[in-house]
C-alpha cells in the first residue's frame, strides 16, 4: 500500500507537468491517470469507474483564452487514489461503490479547489519571466534554461504537494463515512453515476453538434444502429 501511495503522489506530479508545462500529451486526463492509479493499487475496475465519470466531465473543460480551467490533472489522480485507498480498507463489495462515489466527489472538489492554485502558480511565473529577460539583457545566456527548468520543477512540486494533501485529507475525512454508511453511499452511487455520465456526455455532444442538425441526425442514427446491434447481437 505504501508503494501505491508513493506512486500515486508521484503520478500527481507528473500529471501536473503534462497538463500545461510539459508536453500536453493527455497523460493528465482522468481516464489515463485513473488507469495508472488502478494498476498501482491493483483494482482497475473501481479506478476506471471513477476515471470514466471524471473524464466525461473533464472532456469539456478547455484551456482556451483567459479562462483558468479546473485542475483535472490533480483531480483525476486524487479522485481515483482516494476511491482505491478507501476501498482497500473495507472487505465488502458494497464499499467499492461507496468508495467510487466519494472518490469521484473528491476528484471534482479537488479540480475546483485547484483553480486558485493554478492562478497562483501563473502569477509566480510572471516574476520568473521578468527575471529571465533582465538576466538575458545583462548577458546571462543560461537564464532561459534556468527559468524553464525552474518552472517545470515548481509545477511538479505543486502537483506532488496537492496530491499528497488531497489524498491524506480524503482518506482521513471520508474513511469513517465508508465504514459506517456504505449501504446509503452505494445507493447514492447508483443515482449519481448515470447522472454524471449523462452530464458529461451532454457536454461532449454539445462540442460535436454545434447546433448543426445534420450532426444530431448522425448521432441519432448511430444511437439507434448501435442499440439494435447490441440488442440483436446480445441475443
Amino acid at each position: 500500500m505504501n508503494l501505491a501511495v508513493l506512486g500515486s503522489v508521484l503520478l500527481g506530479g507528473l500529471a501536473a507537468l503534462d497538463a500545461v508545462p510539459l508536453g500536453q500529451t493527455m497523460l493528465s486526463q482522468p481516464l489515463v491517470t485513473a488507469t495508472l492509479v488502478g494498476l498501482l493499487w491493483v483494482d482497475w475496475h473501481t479506478a476506471i469507474e471513477v476515471g470514466v465519470v471524471l473524464q466525461l466531465i473533464a472532456a469539456s473543460t478547455l484551456p482556451v483564452g483567459a479562462r483558468t480551467p479546473e485542475d483535472y490533472a490533480s483531480g483525476g489522480v486524487i479522485g481515483a487514489s482516494v476511491a482505491l485507498a478507501l476501498a482497500t480498507q473495507q472487505p465488502y463489495a458494497l464499499a467499492r461503490e461507496a468508495s467510487a462515489l466519494l472518490g469521484s466527489l473528491a476528484g471534482l472538489a479537488s479540480a475546483v479547489a485547484g483553480v486558485p492554485l493554478i492562478r497562483w502558480q501563473r502569477r509566480r511565473n510572471e516574476g520568473l519571466s521578468r527575471w529571465c529577460e533582465a538576466e538575458l539583457r545583462r548577458g546571462q545566456g543560461g537564464a532561459l534554461a534556468a527559468a524553464q527548468w525552474a518552472g517545470v520543477a515548481f509545477a511538479f512540486a505543486v502537483g506532488v504537494a496537492v496530491t499528497s494533501v488531497g489524498l491524506a485529507l480524503g482518506v482521513w475525512a471520508l474513511g469513517p463515512l465508508v465504514a459506517h454508511e456504505s449501504l446509503r453511499l452505494s445507493r447514492a452511487w447508483t443515482l449519481a453515476q448515470p447522472l454524471w455520465i449523462g452530464l458529461g456526455l451532454a457536454q461532449v455532444m454539445n462540442a460535436f453538434f454545434q447546433r448543426r442538425l445534420a450532426r444530431a441526425a448522425v448521432f441519432g442514427f448511430a444511437l439507434i444502429g448501435a442499440w439494435l446491434v447490441l440488442i440483436v447481437g446480445g441475443r
Binding site: I48, V64, L101, L108, R137, L144, Q148, G198, L223, I224
Partner: protein, 249 residues
C-alpha cells in the same frame, strides 16, 4: 550562412514541448517560445551578445494553441535566418508576423485540438474502457497523440520550409476539413457510447440507470447553453443532491 540542419529542427521540436513551462498571465508562452527558438538563433547569430539580444526580444508576449506553435516556430526561424543575413525584416516586423501567426494558429488549432480531437479521444477512451484495464486509456492517448505529436515534431520543419505562408489557405483548408469530419465522426461516436451505456453487451441496464442517464443528458444539454455554472459545478451539485437523497431515504 548555413541553413538549419535537421538536428536543429528536431531540437526545436523537442523544446516546443516546454513551450508552457513558465506559462503566466503577463507573457503567456513568451519564455518558452524563446527557449524553443534558441537552437535556430544559435545557428544564425554566432556572436553571443547579439544572440542574447535577439532572445530577449523573443521573450515578449506570445500565445497560441501549443501544438500548432511548432509551425509558427519554424516560420519565424525562417524570418530570423533572413534577418541575420541582412536581407529580411526588422524586430518590429518579426513581432508583427509572430502575432499574426499566433492568432492564425490559435484560430485553427483551438477548434481542432481542444474542441474536437480532445473530446473525440475522450469519447473513444470511455467507449473502450470497459473492455479491459488499459484499453480505454491507451485508445485516448494514442488517438490524441498521433495527431498532436506528429504535428509538434514535424511542424517545425514544415514551418521552416514554407515560412509564414505555412499557415496559408492550403493548410487552413485541410485542418478545417479534418475538424469538420472529426466533428461528424464524434457525433456518431457519442451515439454509440449512449447506446452501450444503455444496453452494454445487449443486456438493458436497470430502469433507474436509464432514467438517470437521460436526466443527466437533459440537464447537461440545457446547462451547456450557458457558461455558468460550469460542468464541474453542475456535477458537484448533482453529487450533493444524490448524497442528500440517500440521507432522507
Amino acid at each position: 550562412m548555413a541553413p538549419l540542419r535537421r538536428r536543429d529542427l528536431w531540437r526545436m521540436a523537442f523544446r516546443a514541448a516546454l513551450l508552457q513551462a513558465t506559462f503566466n498571465y503577463e507573457r503567456q508562452q513568451g519564455i518558452g517560445w524563446a527557449w524553443a527558438l534558441e537552437p535556430a538563433l544559435a545557428r544564425f547569430y554566432p556572436d553571443p551578445a547579439l544572440r542574447r539580444e535577439r532572445l530577449a526580444e523573443h521573450t515578449a508576449y506570445f500565445n497560441t494553441q501549443p501544438t500548432l506553435a511548432s509551425l509558427a516556430l519554424g516560420a519565424v526561424a525562417r524570418l530570423e535566418e533572413r534577418r541575420a543575413a541582412g536581407e529580411g525584416p526588422d524586430a518590429e516586423a518579426i513581432a508583427r508576423v509572430k502575432s499574426v501567426l499566433g492568432s492564425s494558429a490559435a484560430a485553427l488549432g483551438d477548434p481542432l485540438f481542444w474542441f474536437t480531437l480532445r473530446p473525440f479521444a475522450a469519447g473513444l477512451g470511455v467507449l473502450l474502457a470497459p473492455a479491459g484495464p488499459v484499453q480505454g486509456a491507451l485508445a485516448l492517448w494514442l488517438c490524441y497523440n498521433i495527431v498532436h505529436l506528429g504535428v509538434r515534431m514535424l511542424g517545425v520543419g514544415w514551418g521552416y520550409r514554407l515560412g509564414p505562408a505555412v499557415l496559408g489557405d492550403p493548410l487552413r483548408h485541410r485542418l478545417t476539413l479534418l475538424t469538420r469530419w472529426l466533428g461528424v465522426l464524434g457525433a456518431g461516436l457519442t451515439g454509440v457510447i449512449v447506446a452501450t451505456m444503455l444496453v452494454p453487451g445487449g443486456v438493458p441496464r436497470p430502469i433507474v440507470f436509464q432514467v438517470c442517464l437521460l436526466a443527466g443528458l437533459g440537464v447537461g444539454l440545457v446547462g451547456a447553453q450557458r457558461g455558468r455554472p460550469s460542468p464541474t459545478e453542475w456535477a458537484l451539485g448533482v453529487g450533493a443532491l444524490c448524497l442528500l437523497s440517500t440521507v432522507f431515504h
